[in-house]
């Protein structure tokens, strides 16, 4: 039912500010027309593609001093901050809507850019293969992100490494899309998509069908199979029934393809997916990895311990070869990163989960299932910890953004007169307090989610309360560890 304009605005504001109920943002004509336009995603991708190419070129050929190079500043400060602190908590996987990395592969796959092509696969590009079933999980993404994180001091400080990484991602995505069907790269390999998917369970936006009965009775399923003019979902999502944001890349193909206008883009309360069914052990481990890495990044990169930075500062040795130097203690750091993320944090959490089960004193509850389900309570806290880590990146280093806008390659240009703007952090003494507020925000949703998850296993109120106490203790201790890093 179309709403009157004034009640639309009122419902939108109620949803946005009070997080009361859901609101389909496509009730606004301008948004609906924009999203349903064939060129919508193409224009976003094109703009990003242009920026990416400038970033890659500056990384490969510009100054190798990090804060004087567009690639470092725009990828690891501007893009990272906007992604983790703005796009992800509010718009979920909206980055995937505009990501240019799979674009070449996708256009080759589809034999077209804007208009759906009738051309069939010919010659050396044969029918794409299905992704192997045994890799139908996010373990590759988990390990890929952990691998990137291990080399993060190298990655976020050396422009040439950033340029090479972005170039490699383009190449890998394109090759994969010539071999495997649809967005297999995005769903199973992309290290960014791994954590975007997990954290999008918290986000304030969702794409869902409006009327499932209509979908059930509509057999053509253009949202999955495509129509004459639009493609179906390239992310392997079963659009009529999916209930979680994890694997929807917000490409809006289904919205365009649906002949009944039966798909909505809803503004909703935060953490809307955390209590949904479909929990998996690979996703559980992703939450451990992200929570642990947030802490390790704060210790290694933002901490005062020079010896840790020395361990992490493994560097590439141009132009004498492809070797890494300064390896003496780097393997220890690698061990710390991988052991903590994959074993230590999960083991500690398992201990607290076992405590929950023990104090509940109810037989027949699987520890494995309880462990898997309760790991999802960490999602809000992990996301807020990452935002807390990212805040100082922007507040302290904003002047470098102005510098590289005027001199993107670090070659001594001064296009807009800001190349010599002095280092001038923005109220840096307030950073620990802002970080604390975000942790408390995450703690609210973590406690709320955790208690409801406990209630799924222990419906009795008194039992649920007892069982939740160890979880509350774990969440509090984790939050206090972050506070110690911020303030202590």
């Amino acid at each position: 039912m179309k709403m009157e304009s004034s009640s639309k605005v009122k419902s939108f504001l109620m949803s946005l500010i009070l997080h009361r109920g859901k609101f389909d943002v496509m009730e606004f004509n301008i948004i609906r027309r924009l999203i349903k336009h064939t060129a919508f995603q193409f224009i976003l991708i094109l703009l990003n593609l242009l920026v990416f190419w400038v970033i890659i070129l500056s990384g490969l050929f510009g100054s190798q001093v990090g804060n004087k190079n567009l690639s470092i500043i725009f990828v690891w400060i501007v893009w990272w901050f906007l992604l983790i602190a703005v796009l992800l908590p509010i718009f979920g996987r909206a980055w995937c809507t505009m990501c240019p990395i799979p674009v070449f592969g996708e256009y080759i796959q589809r034999r077209g850019i804007l208009v759906k092509s009738d051309k069939k696969a010919e010659g050396w590009v044969k029918k794409p293969k299905r992704w192997p079933e045994r890799f139908n999980n996010i373990w590759l993404q988990n390990l890929g992100f952990l691998g990137m994180a291990t080399f993060s001091p190298l990655l976020v400080t050396r422009p040439i490494i950033t340029g090479i990484l972005l170039g490699l991602l383009f190449v890998i995505a394109t090759i994969m899309m010539l071999i495997f069907e649809k967005r297999s790269f995005c769903k199973y390999v992309c290290p960014v998509a791994g954590f975007l998917g997990l954290f999008s369970m918290f986000s304030a936006i969702e794409l869902r069908v409006k009327d499932r009965i209509l979908c059930r009775n509509h057999l053509d399923k253009e949202c999955i199979n495509g129509s004459d003019t639009h493609y179906g979902c390239p992310f392997f999502v079963h659009v009529p029934t999916f209930e979680r944001n994890n694997y929807c890349g917000l490409c809006t193909e289904c919205i365009k393809a649906c002949p009944h206008d039966n798909i909505s883009l809803n503004l909703r309360p935060f953490a809307g997916d955390i209590l949904k069914k479909g929990r998996r052990i690979d996703e559980a481990w992703k939450s451990f990895i992200m929570l642990t890495l947030a802490g390790l990044y704060m210790i290694v990169l933002l901490g005062p311990w020079g010896w840790l930075k020395d361990w992490a500062n493994v560097f590439w040795v141009p132009p004498y070869g492809w070797g890494l130097a300064n390896f003496s203690n780097f393997p220890i750091l690698v061990g710390i990163f991988w052991f903590s993320s994959l074993l230590f944090t999960p083991a500690i959490f398992l201990g607290f989960t076992a405590m929950s089960r023990a104090v509940a004193r109810v037989k027949g509850i699987s520890l494995k299932l309880l462990f898997r389900d309760l790991s999802y309570e960490l999602i809000p806290l992990a996301l807020m910890a990452w935002i807390a880590f990212s805040i100082p990146l922007l507040m302290v280093n904003w002047s470098y953004i102005a510098n590289v806008i005027s001199d993107p390659f670090g070659l001594g240009w001064n296009l807009f007169g800001t190349a010599e703007l002095a280092f001038n952090p923005f109220y840096p003494e307030s950073i620990p307090y802002i970080q604390t507020i975000f942790i408390i925000f995450g703690l609210f949703y973590a406690i709320r989610s955790g208690y409801k998850i406990i209630g799924e296993h222990y419906p009795d109120r008194g039992t649920a309360f007892r069982a939740f106490l160890p979880q509350l203790l774990f969440l509090m201790l984790t939050s206090l560890l972050f506070i110690l890093l911020f303030m202590g």
Binding site: T157, K309, L443, L480, I483, M487, G488
Partner: protein, 170 residues
């Protein structure tokens, strides 16, 4: 979804209840953190201690990395560099000096704010320059009240949230 067995508070608050509680917790947190951050900003009456701390800047750390001083102390930092030019910038203290090889820079502050203040490099000194940091911790009688206060705020917030969630039911 409402829990019919929840206390009246849970039924009354409705679906916007979560947001109201969250906003309340955040507002109270902000107020308490503001009080914590602005408390103990007066120099205590009595003896003011004056002393000098030698700091060496190198790629990519300060030595010592953590410096703890008492509220009200007059601290002079004598900063040198071991390798290339570095900066010595202290959050919240209007200190930003540049140190060049072979030179020693002196800067004096009165530690008039309790808490943790990052020391940052303000001169591009190499690849890890943005992550070159030290810490100045200002305590009062050995206690970092900013940390203690924040810890208390987080614990109280957690208990309030847990109580609210429990009263609403699962």
């Amino acid at each position: 979804m409402q829990n019919a067995h929840a206390p009246p508070l849970g039924r009354l608050m409705g679906s916007a209840g979560n947001m109201k509680v969250l906003v309340t917790v955040l507002v109270v947190t902000i107020i308490l953190l503001t009080l914590v951050s602005t408390s103990h900003t007066q120099s205590p009456e009595g003896k003011v201690r004056s002393y000098t701390i030698d700091v060496v800047a190198r790629q990519f750390a300060y030595e010592p990395g953590r410096i703890v001083v008492n509220l009200g102390d007059e601290v002079t930092f004598k900063v040198q560099t071991k390798d290339v030019s570095h900066g010595f910038y202290i959050d919240g203290y209007d200190v930003d000096v540049h140190i060049h090889p072979g030179e020693t820079e002196e800067v004096t502050i009165v530690a008039d704010k309790v808490g943790k203040f990052k020391i940052r490099c303000s001169v591009t000194c190499g690849s890890m320059h943005p992550f070159m940091m030290g810490e100045l911790i200002v305590v009062h009688d050995g206690v970092n009240y900013a940390h203690v206060g924040s810890t208390i705020v987080v614990v109280i917030a957690a208990l309030c949230i847990a109580t609210y969630v429990w009263r609403r039911g699962t």
